[in-house]
Symmetry: C2
Subunit: 772 residues, 2 copies
């Protein structure tokens, strides 16, 4: 991996142009606003390797899958986030020659993602093949304040020539997904219009009928004065543009402002799309570029107020954590409960942009602590809305009752088709139940259970009930043929994590039912009726809870990831020759499966989720056994290990794990950042600081902190939203200070001692976290 990005506290900076890293930078410098976003492609033509990518949240395509080995029950399609109209394009011609960095000599190149204010800028000097030199500065935003608006200021200045400059702002909807299975294009044109200062273009997906209208307006200033030259309009299939040519000379300063609106049929009626786009667009142009920039900075200031983490004494770590937080905030804002978080956000196409269990297991904790509780609640409601589909999914797999949420989805339907994942990685159901617990426990919003949560919990418990079966000779319930979080095992029996989360779900469901019966008896009765909940069901759940089989080894005092785990050859990762790593690129699947090596936290994931039920010694024995055989080939793994390592006082291990997660994309650790950033795992990075080093938990309505300093930082601080208060937790080697930035008091426990932090005041605790 090449570390070519400059270390900076608030920005990602690239200081020279290298076509080799262009696609990586396109991913890393991506900008978005939760509603739309795109890769850091160039405005002007670029003929080098590039993944042109512009994405609208929730606009997807069911791409057909044909070749392969079909199993009964597989979905017919894989849903893909749609690469849609390129609205950033501004072609530049100098005396008829396109400005194209792949064909120019480039110097003084600088690209900056300003995370503090949410802007992407770029500047460079380019000399064309004809020797004509220009200086370019561009600045682009995807507006956080006006979700349908993007804006660009693009300045160009001739350095050493006089000649004709041609400027062609355009909208290009003739776009193909890079990951289209059959090289098909997914869009048809509906209508378009072009005029002297802009135009619009409406496209519609070939399936599912999503409509997207993009509209743009532009202004050109020559040396500060508005250019009056008429534009020539250009129209092609799925393409509109306006072309303006005029003479320039050395030292002239040409500035193009391009405003674009992108609106979709998800938010507007089909007949209103053009009007909606034009309204948003004109309003943005009237406000002006400078005002849009100010709004953007304000919006990001609010985000950082709620979610910033400060690391002192380690600029690289500081940059990394802000990058992770920035990406999460620009991927999902929580305003639209039909949306969720794709594994790559708006930075690429891989994994289809669909929803995975990443959301519940990794992202919910981030949004719970860094945003209003309504945001995490919307993530939960997303699954509530898919409950009927999840029940259908369970029926498709032959279950008489209950719900099985999909492994990968856009609309609640399963769209993944590897049997070992699709049909067997059912622990996802546990994470969805756990997120309900996590939300209610963190926010105290018990009302959620009656409103939405219990229906989901009951249907998931029913699924587990049917999925286990009783084995007389063991007097236990077993669960055969599953894939646990460690996807380097398939079709195993009695995966400890899955069994444990299954019985835990039933326990929590019974608790929640009891709570409702006592506190909201009318709603309880209503739900029992609606769900046709029978007494023998809850009795059965109690029996399963009592008699669930958990694989374990008495001698080692550990839980077994699955039946027969100790028949494997146990080899530690440190004893594997480096040329074998990463296993998933070097080994065939069977070899991976029969090896002991663990892709991502599995037993340890359970010990993290249900941490209050296991003592430190149990955690230590399991960590000591499983950590050395874990290869962390999922970006979701190191954070869980970091958190447990912190709890166990393994500072160096914790820091090693933190490093592995935090700069994954900035340093292109997995050599795949060109496909897009690992957005959901960024929530894990945040967790490894806040739940790991910060030791944050919530128990019995109290915020628990057990902070430790990883030993490589002077100090660090993080922001936490908790029950209406916003707290800034600052940790040094010797003390912890919690400042309450709001006027709502907070009940917290630091190192086991209880405090109340009153509004706009602070408490300081001395000491250190538990060590083993």
């Amino acid at each position: 991996m090449k570390q070519y990005l400059k270390i900076d506290e608030w920005s990602i900076i690239e200081e020279s142009f290298d076509p080799q890293t262009q696609e990586i930078s396109e991913s890393v410098f991506s900008i978005g606003n939760g509603y739309m976003g795109g890769r850091a492609n160039f405005e002007e033509q670029y003929s080098g390797h590039s993944l042109q990518g512009s994405y609208m949240a929730g606009v997807y395509y069911p791409d057909k899958t044909r070749v392969g080995w079909w199993k009964n029950g597989y979905p017919e399609y894989f849903a893909k986030v749609l690469n849609s109209t390129n609205w950033i394009g501004i072609n530049i011609d100098i005396d008829g020659t396109p400005l194209d960095l792949a064909a120019c000599t480039v110097s003084d190149f600088r690209r900056e993602l300003n995370m503090k204010e949410g802007t992407l800028s770029r500047s460079f000097t380019a000399v064309t093949a004809e020797g004509k030199e220009v200086r370019v500065d561009s600045l682009r935003i995807v507006s956080m304040a006006r979700r349908e608006i993007g804006a660009i200021r693009y300045s160009i200045s001739p350095v050493n020539f006089a000649g004709e400059l041609t400027i062609t702002p355009y909208l290009d909807g003739d776009i193909k997904n890079k990951d289209a299975n059959y090289d098909e294009k997914f869009w048809n044109e509906v209508e378009k219009k072009s005029g002297p200062d802009g135009g619009h273009l409406t496209l519609k997906t070939k399936k599912l009928d999503f409509h997207v209208t993009s509209a743009y307006l532009f202004d050109i200033l020559l040396n500060g004065d508005k250019l009056t030259r008429e534009a020539v309009t250009l129209e092609e299939e799925k393409y509109v543009a306006s072309k303006v040519s005029f003479p320039v000379k050395s030292g002239d300063q040409v500035v193009i402002y391009k405003y674009a609106a992108n609106v979709t049929s998800r938010n507007h009626g089909l007949g209103q799309l053009v009007e909606a786009a034009e309204t948003a667009l004109h309003s943005a142009r009237e406000a002006g570029f400078a005002a849009l920039l100010t709004e953007q900075a304000e919006a990001w200031k609010d985000k950082w107020k709620e979610s910033d983490i400060i690391i002192e004494g380690d600029v690289s770590a500081q940059q990394a954590i802000r990058f992770n937080i920035f990406q999460l905030n620009q991927t999902y804002t929580g305003e639209d409960d039909r949306l969720n978080i794709g594994p790559k956000g708006f930075t690429g196409e891989k994994y289809g942009g669909s929803t995975y269990w990443d959301t519940e297991a990794y992202c919910v904790p981030f949004y719970l602590s860094t945003a209003d509780s309504s945001i995490a609640r919307n993530l939960l409601i997303y699954r509530y809305k898919h409950l009927e589909k999840a029940k259908e999914n369970a029926r498709k797999l032959g279950f008489k009752k209950g719900a099985l949420y999909p492994m990968v989805t856009m609309n609640g339907e399963e769209c993944h088709n590897e049997w070992e994942i699709t049909f067997e990685e059912i622990h996802r159901n546990g994470a969805i139940a756990y997120a309900i617990y996590n939300y209610v426990n963190y926010t105290g919003d018990q009302a959620y259970l009656g409103q939405y949560g219990l229906e989901v919990l009951v249907e998931i418990s029913r699924f587990w009930e049917e999925r286990v079966h009783y084995v007389p000779h063991k007097d236990k319930y077993v669960m055969l043929g599953v894939t646990g979080p460690n996807e380097y095992e398939n079709n195993v029996n009695n995966n400890w994590y899955t069994n444990r989360m299954a019985s835990w779900t039933m326990e929590y469901t019974l608790e929640a039912l009891a709570y409702l019966q006592e506190n909201e008896s009318a709603r309880y009765a209503e739900l029992v009726d609606k769900l046709e909940l029978a007494e023998d069901e809850t009795a059965k759940w109690n029996d399963i809870i009592a008699k669930m089989y958990y694989a374990a080894d008495e001698e080692l005092g550990i839980f077994l990831q699955q039946d027969g785990f100790l028949d494997k050859e146990i080899i530690q990762v440190k004893d594997v020759l480096p040329e074998n790593l990463p296993l998933n690129q070097k080994w065939s699947w069977d070899r991976i499966l029969r090896s002991c090596f663990i892709k991502q936290a599995d037993v340890l994931q359970g010990l993290y989720f249900l941490g209050d039920r296991y003592d430190l010694e149990t955690k230590k024995r399991n960590f000591d056994f499983y950590e050395p055989i874990t290869v962390h080939e999922s970006s979701l793994s190191p954070c869980i290990h970091a958190i447990l390592a912190c709890e166990l006082g393994y500072k160096e291990k914790a820091y090693e794990m933190y490093l592995r997660t935090s700069r994954l994309d900035l340093d292109n650790y997995n050599n795949d950042t060109e496909d897009g950033c690992h957005t959901t795992s960024m929530a894990g990075t945040w967790m490894s600081i806040v739940h790991g080093f910060g030791g944050l938990r919530v128990q019995a309505d109290r915020l628990i902190l057990n902070p430790s300093n990883p030993g490589h930082w002077t100090a660090y601080s993080f922001k936490i939203m908790f029950r209406g208060s916003r707290l800034k937790v600052s940790v040094t080697d010797v003390q912890v200070t919690v400042v309450n930035e709001t006027d709502i008091p907070a009940s917290i426990t630091i190192y086991g001692k209880d405090y109340t932090v009153n509004g706009l005041s602070s408490v300081t605790a001395e000491g250190s976290s538990v060590t083993v």
Copy 2:
């Protein structure tokens, strides 16, 4: 399923035309000669549903596979048998209207596959939309005597009109595989020529450069006289034809003879293809159609002399077994050791026409007993020639030594890509070793070991050695993560069959090495050197043989299909509601996997292969446990159960199993015969009679027979080739007669009593087989 075929001892007969069953009939009435073959398509145009299929053995295409979930080590292509030039085509126009049974009123339709003489005939009366009636008789062969030649006699007679008849014999190479992944055509034209009485066409595959030249000549007779009318030649891309028009009137008799040659670059130099085709073609025309028919009848007479089975008192069973034998004989003749047996022969495209373990486990026994031993030997040498590829395949999967034969192949390379099959269904290696044992044991050809067999055995043993590992706490060697013959279990540990065949391979390899050392010491030394066989290797094999782990249940006294099998819910197939069957169409894969239901013989396959090592009680306990939970959803399953049932004296079960396998395609039992016939499983049908009811085994150079009568037949007989002699074994309820049809004496044992059957004489034994 619709039983529309007439029951007949020697023929398959269809007596009316039904477009609904046309594609099934196209499969069932297929003809071939081991070198080429095709579906029973019509000569004249047919616009109804049809799979036009003409196939040349060994000419395949590596069709790209793209969509799906790629695992490290998967092949990039799936090899497909190529649908190639349609050489049977003769279009007929009546006053400008094509004769097309889909557009005519058809009566007196009759299609017959004469299995005794190897001909396909068809006759019908058709009335066109214009009311013009014609009578047609056609007869087609794919010559057994001249492997590159096919010939057609097509007679047409106007019944009620005078008008113009146009006859267009043609070659059409513009053919697409039905199973092409991307709807691509796989052929390019190389050259073509058309003349007044025929033409030729050379095509080349877009990959791998297979060339196929087809050439044809035709003669037309009008009322017995050769028609002198000039033909118009037609040429299109990949198409040549000759068109002849002439006036006809009621009662005229027009006969077209079409001779075709198909030659490939597998057998001729690229420059010699046209000449080779023309030579074969002219020779065939000179011989004349009648002579070709006589040759064909003679060739089939020879086949039947070696392989016929006669069943008395059950014409349906008689027809079925002959159909199975006929298909096997026209699929593979053993003359070309580069060829093998695709699961559908020349009757369709499904499963790619590639080689599977079906060959070793099911087909080898058939050819061993019904043909010269060189035929089975060629099947073995096919794998010997692929040994280097099998070693490469093992390296691809990370093995330092040894060979892993592919699951599916055309050229020795693996071309299947489901990890649970490709990487884990490694028991195929055991079947390949077993076939060597089977061949040597049956034929007594010990020399094969030194010549070819041992190299394969050693490399397979090396694979097993590396694939198992020692578990100290068990003091056993285990084999984790495999798929056994029962593909309704994936990634299981210690599949009994696989473990057993692995240690058996090592035992047999050691035996064979000892034999060679004692009897062919020079060759032994040469092989030890060539194979770099070390003493610690054979010592390790002995250790593994001694300490192999075999899952078993003491209480039930059975071998366990795999670790943990008894944790499943054990439900018998008879207790499954019929709407759940077949499981593979009704259940999702996870449900199938965690169920106890068995797709095909697994433990029982091992007890069949290694039958001389287990006593009847052991077989009985295992059969009684596994048979009731076996769903036989592989066509390869019932035959093994039939054989064991015979051995155990379970006559009704044996007959039930026999019925299930024997009329599979004739009665379209699995509702998929339109895709082609289940050719390899036909060998299993043969086995269920000869190894099952006949009780044939070979031990210590003696042919063992323990015949029983299933109780539904008056009598039955089968032919057996054994060590140079050809024996006809006839079984009635009371006695067994073995007639030696050759002059070479045979040593046989019937019901435990030894006999020598001298040349051209017979012995008769009374009694019955063992019962339990």
